[in-house]
Symmetry: C3
Subunit: 425 residues, 3 copies
């Protein structure tokens, strides 16, 4: 009976068109070219590596796509239990007419060839967008991205700021900044001028949000101009910063970004809690993990200082979700946002969704984003989320609280799409 109810709620959610508010899509090559683009997604390479496939096999220089797939396929049996494998199977079934329930050494080659034909057919990108119901896809752009060559109404630029906040000590990053802005910053004023130019550039190209991922030990704080001047002069003079100076610089740049977000009325996506390069010999993008000992209380000063900036917050550790729920319930400028990375599996999505729907204003929840690198992933990832959302709506609202199906569906549509438009639109 509940299964029927879930299906009844799911149907209208599934037929909705979507906006995907956070992805890593390259708009110049949005869809996959071969199955290797799909199986090369770090979720598969890192899981296969974790199960025993050597990194050198996966990342051999010059390896051809079909060869790469052929090396990964034998390991799929070790990860077929994972949610990530379920996405793969659903993609192959929906997009490539795959009829079997396992990708094996016996059947992968015909799948590869069939999928290649599909992907090489004209209009594949449009086909995927259409089949997935995607109206808009938000990007993650480097600060010096020219933002040229694509339709910014379809692919919405977002200013990714990790490099500015955490990597100005790298010469390459400073050079990119100088090249992008024509400014060689020597103090807090000129650094802010350079950042202002980046915001102007992105604003001129329809920017949807400013975004950053943050390590667990980062605590934003205002930095005095004089303290900032000293470290900026030092780092742009090519000198090494101490850990404390480096933190001062990060805080200064981060705080400045929030100021520009206020000025430009731009949401500032905070993705909180990732430690980079924990597994040093991991595959590409398969090296990061986290320390769950992080608290949103670290963001107290920021949230109080910028009441006009909307902060859609993602947390990497599921143990942080109740804090996110509570902070969104109290702070007008905090919005719950999606289910990020290690929390993007059903068991955590379901519980996070319950907590948010039970205690955060319905207008302050961005239900989901795909975080995808290739367009084909939106479909199975959103499908997973929609099934869970329908289940929670059925159980917690229709069964427990006696809501009508219509009312439950309306709540689902709000978190799935309505809020995305209201918050980022």
């Amino acid at each position: 009976m509940t299964q029927n109810l879930i299906a009844e709620i799911l149907e209208p959610l599934q037929s909705m068109r979507l906006i995907d508010p956070h992805t890593h899509i390259n708009p110049l090559q949005a869809a996959s070219s071969t199955l290797a683009d799909i199986l090369g997604y770090h979720y598969y390479t890192e899981l296969a590596h974790s199960a025993g496939l050597s990194k050198s096999q996966i990342e051999e220089p010059g390896i051809l796509p079909k060869e790469k797939v052929s090396r990964l396929v034998p390991w799929l049996s070790t990860i077929e239990n994972t949610a990530q494998y379920a996405w793969l199977l659903e993609m192959c079934q929906v997009f490539f007419d795959f009829k079997e329930d396992r990708i094996t050494e016996a059947n992968w080659e015909s799948l590869y060839d069939n999928s290649l034909k599909k992907m090489q057919a004209p209009g594949w990108e449009e086909t995927v967008l259409e089949r997935s119901g995607l109206d808009q896809v938000y990007l993650t752009n480097d600060f010096d991205d020219p933002l040229q060559g694509f339709d910014i109404r379809k692919y919405v630029p977002c200013l990714r700021t990790d490099d500015l906040v955490f990597h100005l000590a790298k010469p390459a990053v400073r050079e990119r900044l100088q090249k992008a802005t024509g400014i060689h910053p020597g103090n807090s004023v000129t650094l802010k001028q350079a950042i202002a130019m980046l915001f102007d550039h992105f604003q001129a190209h329809g920017v949807g949000a400013c975004a950053i991922s943050l390590p667990p030990d980062f605590t934003p704080a205002a930095v005095s101009p004089s303290a900032a001047d000293a470290v900026i002069a030092k780092v742009f003079g090519g000198k090494e910063l101490t850990a404390e100076e480096s933190n001062t610089l990060s805080r200064f740049v981060f705080w400045s970004l929030a100021e520009f977000c206020a000025e430009h009325q731009l949401p500032f996506d905070l993705m909180i809690g990732v430690n980079r390069r924990v597994y040093e010999d991991g595959v590409f993008q398969g090296q990061d993990l986290f320390d769950r000992r992080v608290s949103l209380i670290q963001y107290k000063a920021l949230l109080n200082a910028f009441p006009s900036v909307v902060f859609p917050i993602s947390v990497l550790s599921e143990t942080c979700n109740q804090e996110l729920v509570s902070f969104s319930w109290i702070f007008p400028n905090v919005v719950t946002c999606g289910h990020w990375w290690y929390s993007n599996i059903p068991v955590y999505i379901e519980r996070d969704t319950r907590g948010r729907l039970q205690a955060v204003p319905r207008t302050k929840q961005v239900g989901y984003y795909s975080d995808m690198y290739k367009l084909e992933f939106a479909l199975p990832k959103f499908a997973m989320y929609r099934r869970i959302l329908a289940k929670v709506l059925a159980e917690d609202f229709v069964v427990e609280r006696g809501w009508s199906v219509e009312k439950a569906v309306s709540l689902g549509k709000t978190v799935l799409r309505g809020n995305v438009e209201a918050i980022f639109g």
Copy 2:
């Protein structure tokens, strides 16, 4: 089938009369006078503010009750998904004959007028107590509360000690202490004499418990009299304390309270984990949040030092519940207590309840308290808890373990009421 079973277990739990072991009721004005007393509860004002209603609208000086309600009502649609809204609806339906499933700009005024008639009718307080099945309501009294003018068998005084432990640096608090006791403390001996008088005063008025809310970074410890003497002389001499001295003072007073609890055989309610005034511009009582990085291990010294004192412990972060379960399973003097504040929503209550029922002796669990400020809230809050309790009893005990319904109901009654009597009675 399980739904029927849950209903069968729920029925006898719902018809039970209750003792509410922790509230903020003012016994001289226990019930609401207008709907503004209900909608003015911080759960609604903070959620409406979070959704967009300005604080100045909510807290305008001299605003009339009906005007206040008229300003909040348009925002209710943004929070109708929340558990808190479900309480509101249930109160209006049960107490005020409200027949609709939403409170809207179109229907609120008649609800307001109907509810006003009910609340102004003679015996409203008794009506609410009776309809809610409340036999006793525990209070939260300031240390200098005269405890006069109410029936202490119905409204049981509890000594709230936050001011003593954390706010003696405020002149007003020291003055209240001096006024209440006639003592101007100058050292540890005289401060303890003053506290002793407070305990005597409360004991003479049938005190049920000593209670305190504690910030996440507090770690109780014994303080030597000489160390205490120095900070007590300083603070009662009107001098500023350093952070370390302030912590010494808090520890000394807290430890002394535990000593008096031992002497008076009084349970000491510990409500662990709240940070005050995190959102500085929040509405009244809507500013507090928490840092979930707290551990009950911080209470090791206390729990070992006072084996004869029962500590009913509430934790603000749901991530602390397993520690609470484990500490209650090991320490004879630790009792699990209710579902506090940000953990008082179904998703967390259900999981906490499962953990406690599966691993803590049945005699060491206080199932629920309402934490209410106005009497009308006990009904929907306890109703929420009882539905969840019935669900857990049905699924984990009758279905999973083959218990009879009768046995499951008996367990439910023990945590719902029996233990309250045994522990606080």
Copy 3:
């Protein structure tokens, strides 16, 4: 319908024979002699003590088994809700033909007498092994255990190393080490020689794993030989170590153990997160608790330094499970392992199981171990786990993902037994 499905999946899991990869069995006295061996398990004594039975009653010197049981029985009614009590009941029903659903003051004596007859019958140990389907039982052996007098193919030795890492400051431990190896270590080289002898001794007796339990604040790190030399000379010279020196010694020994595990191709079981002697007046083995503020990020250096060592990791706090899932998903040498102690109750097992099955390669999960001290406990503990495993397989794989029952059962068998053989075999 789901209940039928769960039963269908459970049946083949229940009829499987088992290997129990972590226990505290004494192979010279593996089974219980009287009911006091069962009720004397710390899970019952600590819960009865927590509920009110005094330690002096439980641990009276020279108390006879039957008397001990008679003192515990009256307290069983206070813990009949617990999962631990459910194990007790299942053991009595399965092994001792107990027909009732409660052990009471009225019926315990006949249960005692019946069980005594069974346990005194010849071949009781074999009967229990057979009835429980146990093929192999892994032990936890002191480093100086002679490993004599038992069948190491049935009872597999494991080298427990807590004493070496954390207790070399105790004269008795140093003496045991000297006696076992003939070496009186004076520096890092000779200490490693001594440890090498222990590994050789265990290797010669079919050792299955090296194992250790670790406090929440321990962070492994390599220690330079010179730094190690200084503290080793000091501690083996009988001098007191400072806290920092003590930590250096622990790190050195721990790191050396990992080196020997690499050399001997031995899995290194890490049981992370226990604080010893938190409740100082607790009953035997009922004094330990935990601080959940621990992160696997503390093991970053170790996991990177020893890619060839498999680390089956158990975490004491359920809030650490998502980190365990994520680290196992990324690090090839991390394996999820069982549900330890305070996490070994259904509510946590179920959620941990979901997370692991949804995101960790199927080959990298050791589903369960009993942690038992007496053989009779494997049956109810594994039964509890298998019921939960069947439920998760039914709901998350057959219902949600459309798997066949056969495929789901195969996954269950892999985590229940297949991986134990592959990882420890």
